[in-house]
Symmetry: C2
């Protein structure tokens, strides 16, 4: 049988257990030109909360009654005359929150499980890695010597953004929630400093660690953290809006950044990004990461939980902050 | 005697008559290397409200007890060995809200009163003109065919922004307060449409006049108008933050744009500008305006009030919207 998680209703605020229906269906048969993938790992990402909203966005919302959209890695167990893929191939793609997926292969690509452990294909050499790489290098137009702030710094994207900026000769300060995460950023990942937003005032933290202000702010969080960063911009600062996890479960309108006029005063730029725009440049990023990984210059951490029946509780860790690195669910 | 307006206290909210002291002092004598300017016109600009705040900005605040900073045009009536300027020269510069100014000439430049009426040097061929030109062409990176929205569209900057965009082959919709202003935009200045924010819902107006969304939003106003524009962005839209007149007298923190995540969804850019950055390119703009004026392709309107003693009431017209075009005070 194929265990699936289906969107049952659109949540108002934080998803509840009633948001989802868990169901078991027959394992589907691939039709002519299709493959059947047995999924091993499912990627849990903050962006998924956005896909649950019935609003115009960069991607259509997940429909009520549809299997919840999610990135996956798995192995082909059946193939029916597929022109490109065969049984035993490992594929990364949008398999959704389920154990088996039938697909014609569109949007999937083959990965080599000998090159890296499978979860890495959902983390550093997957979407979060691509987001970090193109976000900090292309969108932020990072320059050597920049003073860089990253929010959600211990997360899948933030931890890579900070490490890339360090590799490029920048001063990097991470904002994260809790002592353990902050310790990890400074002692394991080599950040210059970390601000624990759960136990410190962000404004004082920025004043202390960035007395000369900020050139680049890479924002995954939004809310008060975005406002604090805006208050410290240097001339021609760049803000990358990658996400706003603090606002994704808001039941009223999101909090806009009160300090946005700092963009005027400091001739700053605030720019939104969606990683899919860089799809044709992914090979460049994968090559760079492979080199850095080989040389031991970059680290990625995956927080792997087990069991598709634990999807709901695991998903909520994205918003409670109770995980370190890329959140992944093992479903095989 | 020299009538002056001095900043007496920092206002909380809208300036009151007690914000200013009106005083008369002796007309000063120019020292060696100085000139004495008799001012004819004083420029009243929304930015002046910002200069009254004791905060770090792109320019130091006006000190309590100092003559209020303002742009001026006037004529040299005395010169004391000035290396560059002589009696009879007309100068544009930062003379402040007073009838006479002594200066060494730094920051002033000579204008030719035969080329245009003096008030035009505070409007289309002055700061507002420069702001509009570089804001829409360089900061917004305007392209032919763009759908352009301008707020404060009947103001000194907005009216020029819209006309330049029309000259460059764009569709232009202005947002302004009141039927007269909207009539002026469409019938006198050639805007494609106007939205009267005092009598229309801005969201419905944008839906009606920009069914395909917005490529460029040039914002002088902020607040709800910025939020409405954000809700209509097309892919790769650009927002120029030129001002936020709706927020300048706010007694609580300014309203941040709740819809800022539209920048993410649409890969938009929000960029702040200060016109002084383009000082070395002003001649390019002046040449372009002169040509357009000669060809009758562009119009500028000045709302000229008389008497330095009317400074306070006239200044408030910036915020009540009771004026059309560039607000100027005649003081000679």
């Amino acid at each position: 049988m194929n265990k699936q998680v289906v969107l049952a209703e659109r949540p108002d605020g934080l998803p509840k257990s009633s948001t989802w229906t868990f169901q078991e269906t027959e394992i589907p048969e691939p039709k002519d030109g299709d493959v059947l993938i047995k999924q091993h790992y499912i990627s849990l990402d903050p962006a998924m909360r956005g896909w649950m909203r019935d609003v115009k966005s960069y991607i259509p919302p997940v429909g009520i009654g549809d299997v919840m959209r999610a990135g996956t890695v798995g192995e082909i167990v059946k193939a029916n005359n597929h022109p490109k893929f065969k049984v035993g191939d490992f594929l990364s793609g949008w398999g959704g929150v389920q154990q088996y997926t039938v697909t014609n292969g569109k949007g999937y690509f083959k990965i080599d499980p000998n090159k890296a452990p499978l979860p890495k294909f959902l983390s550093i050499i997957g979407m979060p890695g691509m987001t970090a790489y193109f976000g900090i290098l292309k969108v932020a137009e990072l320059k050597e010597g920049d003073i860089v702030i990253v929010s959600g710094a211990a997360g899948a994207v933030g931890s890579l953004v900070g490490q890339i900026a360090k590799l490029k000769g920048c001063r990097v300060v991470g904002i994260a929630g809790g002592k353990d995460k902050c310790y990890y950023l400074v002692n394991d990942l080599g950040f210059d400093a970390a601000i624990d937003y759960k136990n410190e005032n962000i404004y004082s933290g920025l004043k202390k660690h960035c007395p000369d202000g900020i050139d680049v702010f890479f924002d995954n969080v939004g809310g008060d953290i975005l406002d604090a960063a805006l208050s410290k911009l240097r001339m021609h600062a760049r803000i990358v809006i990658c996400g706003a996890i603090s606002q994704y479960n808001a039941t009223s309108r999101p909090k806009g950044p009160s300090n946005y006029l700092s963009l005027l005063v400091n001739r700053g730029t605030m720019k939104g990004m969606v990683v899919f725009d860089y799809a044709n440049q992914y090979p460049e990023a994968i090559e760079a990461y492979s080199k850095w990984l080989q040389e031991g210059k970059i680290k990625s951490k995956e927080a792997i939980y087990e069991g598709i029946e634990n999807f709901h509780d695991t998903f909520l860790r994205l918003f409670s902050g109770e995980k370190l690195g890329k959140l992944i669910l093992k479903v095989s």
